[in-house]
Symmetry: C2
Subunit: 162 residues, 2 copies
Amino acid sequence: MLTVDQKAEPGVSAEQLPLLLGDLVTVANRLTRLAAQSTESAESPAVWRTLSTLVSLGPVRLGELARQSRVSQPTMTKIIRNLDQVDWVKRIVDVDDGRAWQIAITPKGEKALHDWRDTLAEALVPHFSDLAADELEHLIEATRILQQRVAVGTLLSKRDDA
Amino acid sequence: MLTVDQKAEPGVSAEQLPLLLGDLVTVANRLTRLAAQSTESAESPAVWRTLSTLVSLGPVRLGELARQSRVSQPTMTKIIRNLDQVDWVKRIVDVDDGRAWQIAITPKGEKALHDWRDTLAEALVPHFSDLAADELEHLIEATRILQQRVAVGTLLSKRDDA
DNA sequence: GCATAATGCATAGCCAAGCTATGTATATAA
DNA sequence: TTATATACATAGCTTGGCTATGCATTATGC
């Protein structure tokens, strides 16, 4: 019976997966808009995404930060210039390479990110506070799965590194 | 036992929900970037989001479209101007109100959206094709839940309409 | 019916996040 | 040493965001 189940499931995902992905990406973008509008944040998702990456990875090269954020290097240069100006990140000379910078989040940047997350939670909780336990479980697991799958370098083939 | 379970769950969600929402919004934004980068789409998420809304809702007023997309009206005016120029949407005189327009998606726009979704699926499937059946189930359910919750007008309190 | 207020959309102006192309300095390879 | 590659900055462009304002139409109040 387990063998039969395993044979059946790949077929299901092969049929459902493409449709799911379209819906998933669309609703993800809607959620991003909901977050932006409900927090009335003066900063953009790119800012929070960048700061989150620095918290997760620690100090990292500017180019690597761009890669992790899935944006071009000049875009990241611009984002960092803005964040540097408000002291949310700092540039550290990379002693191993005279061309490179290490970018690190500052305590001020960590606080800003923390504040944003608090504001976000407060704004969004009313949309989700009546979730049933199993629904909440789905969201928790889906978040975990997505975090794993969107992480840079996890593609099954080498295409993601191309 | 059911009563005990129900009493326990609200407490869990009250503690976990804020943290989950921060992670969820962050990963949603990452997914949007993954989608944009892997499809190499010349169009932005705002375009696909707008076209998707028109498919879902049918012809709708420009201002209502802005509201459904959670952007300001002038922003939507700009987006529609671009979509009108490439014949992905059409403007229809609103016979009930001389100030208003009805905006509808064209067959050409529907095809463009369909093509994008195909391209998206093709690009993203390698990231998700090895999902276990239960993982896939979590994503499917989470997508359904999010679609419900980000829909305009579903907030528990009236704040979303303010 | 007329005056006033409200509404729907367009325009204006600004900013930030995206991109590709190019430039400059440094590091690596031959 | 020279040629090539790499890391980041700059330049220029576009689009999606915003608020403020303008204009025409509609709704409301008297």
